[in-house]
């Protein structure tokens, strides 16, 4: 891979940079390298952080020589296929969302802004799975790609001080879930009863970078029922494999 750059990030950090733009092929390379390093270089690599376009690799400089690490990674990269998306299936996590009402106070604004109906907003938002490019901002916050421009809406002029955990929003041409109560400026269109981040759960994070999220519209009754199951730890998230990634 000719375009990959190895950048220094302090004495214990190495950034493997695949590109400088948001691109599904570049992001796929990031996730593939992350997987390889986690599986094959456990002794050398302490932690990896995949992002849109690069992989941050943490190592102990008193144990591992930087140049040695770079050579090992370069070796792995040379055997990775370059221009195609991975053929191994990704996980698709279904995210039930109760749209509108008190949970989605901005959905009517999103509809008006795009000159479609509220129903249309929901239909478009649930029409396809979104790739989780990376997690960041707060624990478990997904940076998603692939939302239709037909429901893109500018952020609020004045961000809200506290957005309840589980809120689903649109900011520009991005969409996402707020995993914990946090400030934010996105237009809120609904809320999921699932916990994207639950520190007390066996799997504290509902999804990982490289997964896909499929939103599904539910009514208030189903929201309450699911929230109840989540509360007592009885809810099993719906996770499918998604093999057809290449377009």
């Amino acid at each position: 891979m000719a375009n990959v750059r190895m950048l220094n990030a302090g004495e214990r950090g190495l950034v493997v940079e695949f590109g400088s733009v948001i691109d599904a092929v570049i992001n796929d390379q990031v996730h593939r390298l992350a997987k390889i390093l986690i599986e094959e270089m456990k002794e050398t690599v302490l932690e990896v952080v995949p992002t849109y376009r690069s992989l941050f690799v943490y190592f102990n400089p008193l144990i591992t020589d930087r140049q040695f690490l770079i050579e090992r990674i370069t070796d792995r990269l040379s055997t990775m296929k370059t221009n195609s998306l991975t053929e191994s299936p990704s996980r698709v996590v279904t995210i039930p969302v109760c749209y509108g009402g008190e949970f989605g106070p901005d959905i009517e604004f999103v509809a008006q802004h795009n000159k479609i109906s509220v129903h249309g907003v929901i239909e478009i938002h649930t029409s396809a799975p979104y790739l989780v490019y990376m997690l960041g901002f707060t624990p478990g916050f997904p940076y998603l790609g692939g939302m239709s421009e037909r429901i893109a809406t500018p952020r609020l002029d004045k961000p809200r001080v506290k957005i309840p955990a589980g809120s689903v929003g649109i900011g520009g041409n991005q969409t996402g879930i707020y995993p914990i109560d946090s400030p934010g400026g996105w237009q809120l269109i609904g809320r999921t009863p699932l916990r994207a981040f639950d520190p007390s759960a066996a799997n504290p994070f509902l999804f990982a970078a490289g997964d896909y999220l499929q939103f599904k519209s539910i009514d208030t009754e189903e929201y309450r029922e699911t929230a109840g199951q989540v509360e007592v730890g009885r809810y099993a998230p719906i996770i499918n494999n998604y093999a057809q990634r290449s377009s």
Partner: protein
């Protein structure tokens, strides 16, 4: 058990940090000054990684209803045990029904109170560190409040002797810190003049400083064309330069990803010094190579080992004397 009549300005339970979840957007948190923290645990005869209390600018008051042995390291917060001034960078016996009082930091910014046996708190994702923004870890996910009660981790045999860090290991907290920096990962987003300004200027710590980052003020650092990048990962020590062209040094609670270019990364051992800086203090950045940085980290580790060895030698002598 110890109770907290007065919590101080911002006192949290911290350990080495929550390692292994940054891919999920979870900051590592943990102590801001790893040097003072490590020495405190060595003095308290704790295992490496034990949880301690991190006090900020104004320390708290703690009442012990049992015998305990504690170490206090870092900023000088005028600590007093039952009215008697304690030594800086020392560990000592706290008899039952004692009061340990801290005041304003005369020198430095953060002080560490390590209790022999650690603090009995359930780890969250493998760490007892408090990360207040997500309200997890530590004591109920928040800074200590008046009336809180902390349980000592495990019962330990209380050493009688007071121990003091050898003077030659003492860090000296002045009003100016030198921070060695490895260039990158986005040094190519800055002009040569911008990089020269960064290394040749004096910056001032502003009031906008906390566990997440230190915003500094000084001569502007010129970008080549933009202050925006497609977000990538950031780590403690990273020096971000946003659109206002002023540096922000990321600290323990920093978010895991960010969209500003990073001119360089402060090396680990020097980040401890910044953690002791207060508003108005001066900061100078000095360029450092990767191999120099590794040597500095190695030297620091050797010092810890040397100091630990010295203490256990002392212990051996005491035992023979008994």
């Amino acid at each position: 058990m110890l109770t907290v009549p007065k919590p101080g300005l911002f006192t949290t339970v911290q350990d080495e940090g929550r390692i292994g979840y940054r891919a999920y957007g979870m900051p590592i948190a943990g102590v801001m000054d790893h040097f003072a923290y490590t020495i405190a645990n060595i003095l308290a005869e704790n295992e490496p990684g034990a949880a301690v209390l991190e006090m900020t600018l104004l320390g708290g008051t703690f009442f012990f209803d049992t015998d305990a042995y504690v170490a206090v390291c870092g900023a000088d917060m005028q600590g007093k045990l039952n009215g008697r001034r304690i030594h800086a960078w020392s560990s000592f016996h706290v008899p039952s029904k004692s009061e340990l009082i801290f005041g304003y930091a005369l020198k430095g910014c953060r002080s560490y109170l390590a209790i022999a046996g650690g603090i009995n708190i359930m780890p969250v994702l493998g760490s007892r560190s408090t990360y207040t923004r997500a309200a997890i870890g530590g004591y109920k996910g928040r800074a200590l409040q008046s009336g809180d009660e902390l349980m000592i981790g495990k019962e330990v045999k209380i050493p009688e002797k007071e121990k003091v860090l050898s003077y030659r290991f003492f860090p000296h907290y002045g009003n100016e810190v030198f921070l060695r920096v490895i260039l990158g990962p986005q040094d190519d987003f800055f002009t040569d003049a911008g990089i020269a300004t960064f290394f040749n200027s004096i910056y001032t710590v502003t009031r906008r400083n906390d566990r997440m980052g230190y915003m500094l003020e000084g001569p502007v650092i010129q970008h080549t064309h933009t202050a925006d990048i497609v977000s990538d990962a950031i780590c403690p020590g990273a020096v971000q330069v946003p659109g206002n062209r002023m540096p922000i040094v990321m600290m323990a609670d920093c978010q895991t990803t960010g969209g500003y270019p990073k001119i360089g990364t402060v090396i680990g051992p020097d980040l401890n010094k910044l953690a002791q800086a207060k508003p108005g203090d001066k900061v100078r950045f000095v360029q450092c190579s990767v191999s120099e940085a590794v040597t500095i980290v190695k030297t620091e580790q050797e010092r810890f080992a040397e100091f630990t060895a010295k203490l256990s030698l002392l212990k051996g002598k005491n035992r023979q004397g008994n």
